[in-house]
């Protein structure tokens, strides 16, 4: 509880410590969003950079006026008129939501078993969950291409044991995207779940059983409610990045799967339509603001509770 404005704290040094990262983030993180916002209101042209109007300060005040009057919401109207964009948003949210539920179903038993494992091997298990996260997402997604493709290992295996006679077409479908997202983000689901299950007091279950509750009932009445903070944290932690995912739908989803991250990327690199991709980015941010704010809210309440 030391007084931050303790006597003698060098104000110059203080501002240098605060100012350096502050300025960096202002210039390289916050300012770009305003540029994105500005360009999303501009028009596409074939030029370098491929948008207009440009702010021409050499024309003085008239330049500012021209620039300002050239901004409009045209690109946003386009987003609402063209079904492609609308579908992209909806299907991103849908795919992310379904993947989140799938991860919860797979992750919960894993986290539960980890928490029940002998104390000595628990750190090793946590390590084993984290390890894949350190390897590149790209590599992990790439690994699935070799497995899922029509001439891939999964089909080769299933054909060989005679379970199927025709190769399954999983690659370039939404199923492949689900597999990819679940696989890539599973650690983010398991870790918060494990954290909340691990600190669960074992004597609570003993007390429940002492009071006559059978194990399966204790699980629903005690374990599950007490692990809810982990469930919430895990779900947000995988849902938010999954909505904006690009690499997975691009490599595993083929042309059929629409996801907004991929649409933005294509709009930018293939169509070179900077204003429209900026508008997509702004809308994507608006979509994500709600879950991000909710998540922050939940997290800060957790921190408060710990105090």
């Amino acid at each position: 509880m030391a007084d931050p404005k303790a006597p003698g704290a060098n104000p110059l040094g203080r501002w240098a410590v605060i100012g350096t990262p502050y300025l960096w983030l202002l210039v390289f993180f916050l300012a770009p969003f305003f540029i994105v916002l500005k360009i999303s209101l501009s028009d596409t042209t074939i030029a370098q950079p491929p948008y207009e109007p440009l702010l021409d300060l050499s024309l003085g005040w008239q330049g500012v006026v021209d620039w300002w009057s050239g901004l409009d919401f045209e690109n946003y109207w386009l987003l609402t008129e063209d079904e492609l964009y609308w579908f992209s948003y909806v299907s991103s949210l849908r795919i992310a939501a379904i993947s989140t539920v799938l991860m919860l179903l797979i992750g919960y038993p894993m986290a539960y078993a980890m928490a029940k494992a002998p104390k000595g091997i628990r750190p090793a298990l946590v390590m084993a969950v984290i390890l894949p996260f350190w390897t590149s997402l790209l590599i992990r997604v790439y690994a699935w291409i070799g497995i899922l493709s029509p001439e891939g290992l999964l089909n080769a295996f299933l054909l060989k044991i005679g379970l199927i006679s025709e190769p399954l077409y999983i690659m370039n479908t939404e199923t492949a995207v689900f597999i990819g997202i679940v696989y890539s983000y599973l650690p983010f689901m398991v870790l918060p779940l494990y954290a909340s299950l691990e600190k669960l007091d074992h004597t609570l279950l003993e007390a429940a059983s002492d009071l006559g509750s059978p194990p399966w009932k204790s699980f629903w009445q005690i374990t599950v409610p007490l692990s809810l903070p982990g469930v919430v944290a895990g779900c947000f932690l995988v849902f938010i990045p999954a909505v904006g995912e690009f690499v997975i739908p691009d490599l595993l989803g083929g042309s059929e799967t629409l996801m907004i991250g991929k649409t933005l990327y294509n709009e930018f690199f293939s169509n070179r339509d900077w204003p429209v991709s900026s508008a997509i980015a702004v809308l994507l941010l608006l979509v994500l603001v709600v879950p991000i704010a909710l998540y922050q809210n939940v997290q800060s309440r957790e921190v408060e509770a710990k105090k």
Binding site: M1, D3, A6, G8, A9
Partner: protein, 389 residues
Amino acid sequence: MALKPAQKALGPIRRSFAPWLDPSAVPLIRFENVTKRFGDFVAVDDISLDIHQREFFALLGPSGCGKTTLMRMLAGFEEPTSGRVTLGGKDLAGMPPYRRPVNMMFQSYALFPHMSVEQNVAFGLKQDGLPKTEIAERVTEMLKLVKLESFASRKPHQLSGGQRQRVALARAVAKRPKVLLLDEPLGALDKKLREETQFELMDLQMELGLTFLIVTHDQEEAMTVADRIAVMNHGKLVQVATPGDIYEQPNSRYVADFIGDINILEAKVAGAGPAGLSLAVKDPAAPITVAAPEARPADGAEVAFAIRPEKMRIAIEPPPADAVNVLKGEVWDIAYFGDWTKFLVKLEGSDTIMRVSRANATRTESAPIAWDDKVHVWFAPDAGVLLTA
């Protein structure tokens, strides 16, 4: 009930050392009308306090009473919201902790985990830029003082709790500060070690001739080590006095209750009595006679009579004929502590329980007092103290 010089209160009094009684003595530390607020919370409320050179002074109170905040304002970790703190006549306002000639022993010891015992003790000396040889000398001297010479190159985590405590102490006194601040210094030690260390601390203070300011919530600790104690509550000083006076002459119900065990009887002043003052106890309705204090409360005033369990007598047979203040009751509970026994006596015609303790001076007793026995309890008129606050 001010004591006449002949009837000095008991307690560890160093008769030759009482600078606070000398009006011409200049105190080393002065808190002048110091207030500290944290937002809406008033941690320290308008406190004025003088502490003298070479005094062992204790701030005693429950957690959250402001004692630690008061100490931290002296160390420089907090600035007073208003009022001033002076040290040797110099106002400390605006002086950062690293320039103040006081050092602190932290509750957690705060030993630097990445430095050896030696480096920890040398840390403060290095900051002063002393020559290497002098630092080495002083470190050796300090480690000898706390009997840790053979542990010089150990890291803090390789030491036991008691050893860590001594390293923290050596580190804090190495700079020979004007004042050594001790924040709950023995809180982490077990009971036996704590008692031992209390005496070591007192010896050390005498040996070094430093001024010690200790913060503690443990009244026994404060009573053992300190020359004077300031009892605090809700950011205010309740009483500042020697341990003996605090125990025998509490100035309020709060202090009486906080220090040790005590019986408090609510009463009304009935008038002059044979021993000074006659009181009408409310529950059970009984007259008692007590020694009159200097400022005699008016007749009819609401007062409390506080008496410690060991100042009372208990027996089954009636007390000697000259006994005053005899109350009858029934033994409700008995707690045997080995060296002494505490009886809880429910007074006749009331729900009031009196605590009476008795030293077990003999090993056996022909007719011991047992549960449900009818007993008499009695006390002398000057055995307790009259409280008006």
